[in-house]
Symmetry: C2
DNA sequence: GCAGAGTATGACAACGCTGTCTTCCCTATA
DNA sequence: TATAGGGAAGACAGCGTTGTCATACTCTGC
């Protein structure tokens, strides 16, 4: 493995000049820059991260903290983040965070002390954990998170159009003629997802329909709770003709209970999910749902962390129309 | 952030002694060891990884390379690996590997040059990539992989009971009275998964049933190919009464085509998958499948890498009986 | 009572890089 | 022509650890 000294010797310059070239620092003549670049090429030199970290301040590591049980969500974001890291010369260190109490902080302290990552990346629902955020602020760690709610100084918060997405779902169902629509809402801990319900409510209101509280049931963001919530909704004296579940797992639960109750989807009941998980495609019938550009979101967070600015693009949440929605009966 | 010097000063010893205590090196008196330990506690000292890496040889980093499109599989293993890493004071750096050709090696080279990980962790189908393995061997990087086939010196290969699992599925279906059974086989690139078919064939043979080649269709390990393969099987003049798909995505495809063809599952057709992905639970009907202890497998690989020995436990693959299998019709 | 063989401890030089400070030289201005 | 100003390049000292070697002290066994 060649070191900076080898490059310097080959190019006939000091190691400092090589360092300047590598770091794109100013005040290097074009001539020397070329010689150094050639030497780097020839030796296939790559700077050693550990040495860089030790001497400079940066570690070129970003910690990815997650406790989201949905592997496709986590995986999508992680994939985008990891490839962006690669492009920028960074690396992504993953840390599953136990949901339990104080263990989290000890974990964070250990991580920081050992690795000194240049930034920390939080995804929901961790991105809403106020104590975690505060601990991070105390450690003066740049932190970027997706769809966080609590505003915290010194952290980038990549906003997602949750509300607009909820609105989009409402418009779709209204367009199909549905008027009595049920909602399976997220638990309070998922504050970003709760905005989906807000947007949905707005969409209904725009069509002159108000969201009946009796038709709004809270779920736990998982499959079993979708079954329970769906059953509560469908056993109502006046059941809804469509149900919007705020994530796919719960929507799949609604689908299951509909099957069990002998309802036909979409003839008797329309169902919309959220997330476009793999399971939504393979379900029967395939689920109409909302796709988030997970990879892009992961990339945007890394950009924010590395560039130190949160000029995230506007993400496009997309309604994926499949076979679980149809026109309202009658 | 306290350094080793602070600890040494507080304990009244040399930094080297602190280093010895931290690294559990021999030849330190109990008395000094206690004093140093106390000082470490008091200052909340954690060794700096970058400095360790630079001075010693180890980086306490393990690279996790994956190109598996199934997020629940990747995520499960990654989760197990990451928490074991944490217990052992290591960190897991993730690298999604593009499937494309030579880009992979450049990626590997960059990774190694920058990070010098102490080990590399490969999961299928990457664990079967002979060129990747060879490159790794050239770089003298300890490497551990799950369910690899090609034997490569200097790499740990954590074996999984694929064959026994295939046998288990056969026994189950035979026990239900099925005799004409179709198989959706994996592509040649997934050699570990192909053993599932071997075991399955053995199981049938043990019951005096031979696996008809016409009933064995190759899929691409994804949902669409499951639909195609399932259709080929079900449109046969004498269709099978049960189908074993070698992963869940394909099994879900079989389920879908069965629905489309108006077949009832499990009354008209029994279906078995493999992997116990989240989608298999939320499918309609819930899919009988085989669960792998993904987290344990991830942990075992980290253990092998860190301890330098591959005394992996025997993993228990488990048949998860749900509602997609029933007795053979009449 | 003394060589020989540990055992415990520390001094010091790496490891590969970046930050700071210094030196040199070239140009613009009075 | 003298002088300041600034760009280009390098010397050198860390960064926080571990490895190597030196040193002092403690046992053995004869």
């Amino acid at each position: 493995m060649p070191s900076i000294h080898d490059v310097a010797a080959l190019a006939g310059v000091s190691i400092k000049t090589v360092s300047r070239v590598v770091n794109k620092a100013p005040n290097v003549s074009a001539q020397l820059r070329d010689r150094v670049t050639a030497a780097i090429q020839q030796l296939d030199y790559r700077p050693n991260q550990s040495a860089r970290r030790l001497a400079g301040g940066r570690s070129f590591m970003i910690a990815f903290l997650y406790n989201n049980p949905a592997p496709s969500y986590t995986g999508g974001i992680q994939g985008g983040a990891a490839s962006r890291c690669r492009e920028l010369g960074y690396h992504l260190v993953v840390e599953p965070v136990p949901l339990a109490g104080d263990e989290r902080y000890a974990l964070l302290d250990r991580l920081v002390a050992a690795l000194r990552p240049d930034g920390v990346f939080l995804i929901p629902p961790l991105s809403d954990d106020p104590q975690m955020l505060q601990r991070l602020a105390e450690l003066k760690l740049p932190c970027a998170r997706i769809a966080g709610s609590a505003a915290v100084a010194e952290s980038f918060n990549i906003q997602t159009p949750e509300k607009a997405a909820g609105r989009m779902v409402a418009d779709h169902l209204i367009g199909l003629g549905h008027r009595r629509i049920g909602v399976v809402a997220p638990p309070p801990s998922h504050s970003a997802a709760r905005q989906r319900v807000e947007g949905f409510r707005e969409g209904l209101a725009a069509a002159g329909v108000s969201l009946d509280d009796a038709l709004c049931v809270e779920g736990a963001f998982d499959f079993p709770s979708g079954i329970v919530a769906g059953e509560a909704l469908l056993r109502l004296a006046q059941p809804p003709s469509a149900i919007f579940a705020t994530n796919d797992d719960m929507a799949l639960g609604v689908l299951t209970i509909a099957h069990r109750l002998g309802l036909r989807v979409p003839e008797d009941l329309s169902v919309v999910g959220f997330d476009d998980t793999p399971a939504s495609l393979t379900a029967w019938p395939p689920l109409t749902t909302v796709r988030q550009p997970l990879e892009l979101m992961g990339e945007a967070v890394i950009d924010a962390l590395v560039n130190g600015s949160a000029d995230a693009p506007d993400f496009l949440f997309e309604l994926v129309e499949r076979d679980s929605c149809g026109p309202a009966a009658g």
